[in-house]
């Protein structure tokens, strides 16, 4: 089934098409929701709410981006809404001019996952959005309602904290 057929099926409220769309994106979206919220229960709620929004508003999808990117934005905004109260973005702090975080040759992904989950929510969100999800500082600033400078300093301190944790694990 092509993406267009999938969309048309979902618009006809065909459950099989809806399930196919869910199966196609649920794992990646669930992983992102879990990483942002840091809690599987909240990730379940996020995925449920977000996919209901997707199916109910699919008619509004204007193909200005890919369907995956559109769904990702909905899941991301839903997940961010769930952890809004926990997010504490420290005001913009200066970054040392000669900053460099040396990650070495290899990082075990499972260790990185554990270390990401141990980051304070504000650091974790900015790190995930930029380094894992590929957003720019400007996009992150718009999504989170912070300045580009705050996004950059959060990322710097997130990386420094991650490196410290990874060094302790090795």
């Amino acid at each position: 089934m092509t993406e267009t057929e999938l969309i048309q099926g979902c618009l006809r409220e065909d459950r099989l098409a809806q399930r196919a769309l869910y199966d196609k994106y649920s794992q990646a979206m669930y992983s992102m929701a879990y990483r942002i919220t840091g809690d599987f229960e909240l990730a379940n709620d996020t995925l449920q709410e977000a996919f209901i929004k997707v199916f109910r508003h699919l008619g509004d999808f204007r193909k200005e981006s890919t369907l995956g990117a559109w769904i990702k934005t909905i899941v991301l905004r839903t997940a961010l809404g769930k952890v809004k109260k926990q997010q504490n973005f420290a005001p913009e702090e200066s970054i040392p001019a000669d900053y460099a975080v040396d990650w070495g040759d290899f990082i075990e992904a499972d260790y990185l996952e554990q270390a990401i989950q141990a980051l304070p929510p504000g650091y974790r969100t900015v790190f995930l959005l930029i380094e894992v999800e590929g957003y720019s500082h400007q996009e992150v600033a718009d999504l989170l309602g912070i300045s580009v400078g705050t996004s950059k300093s959060q990322l710097f301190y997130a990386k420094r904290r991650l490196r410290e944790m990874l060094q302790k694990m090795l």
Partner: protein
Amino acid sequence: MQEKNRSTLLRSIGGLPAHRPPGSLWESIAAEMDFYDRETALRRAARRLPEYAPPPQVWARIQSGLSQPAHRFTRLQGYRWAAAAALLIAVSAGIWRFAGAGQAPQVQYTYAIEPALTPFVPVAIPEDEAAIEAVGDAFSKQQAIFQYPDGAHLVGELKQLNEAGAELRSVLETYGFDEQLALELTKVEIQRNQVIQKMTWRL
């Protein structure tokens, strides 16, 4: 759009002067690339992060949510709410006026909801206890490294629940079955399982 003598333009474009970038530009690019190279391991690890599959009940809940009509606040509903609010205000005003004149006795209803748990003494299965201890130990070790935001709270809560459970079992063994104590022990076991579940997610 039609163009005449386009070759003239193209020749002119071909003859545009070349400009040499300042030498410092390459140094900036090299510095950026050095920084990028230092982060190669991080980017590779980020691409290999584990993926998680949602539990089956999420799809069941989505289906259930889709079968319920989406809430739309129509103009008719707006009028209905306005009419209901006006009626409520009128009734409240009437009650306030007449009740105030007659000084009617005030009656207050209160209620409480208690969980309906069956009173029985939860059996402590050695394998389960060993597993709970192992999870608690592993979590405490990771907490020392990662310092989860609520990690210390979970460790403290598990310790308190372990102690409370042990004390309740000891009293029940010493003095025999008591319905209230058995209920308390059941609640402690439920809370302990919730704490262990949270710890397991972190691990």
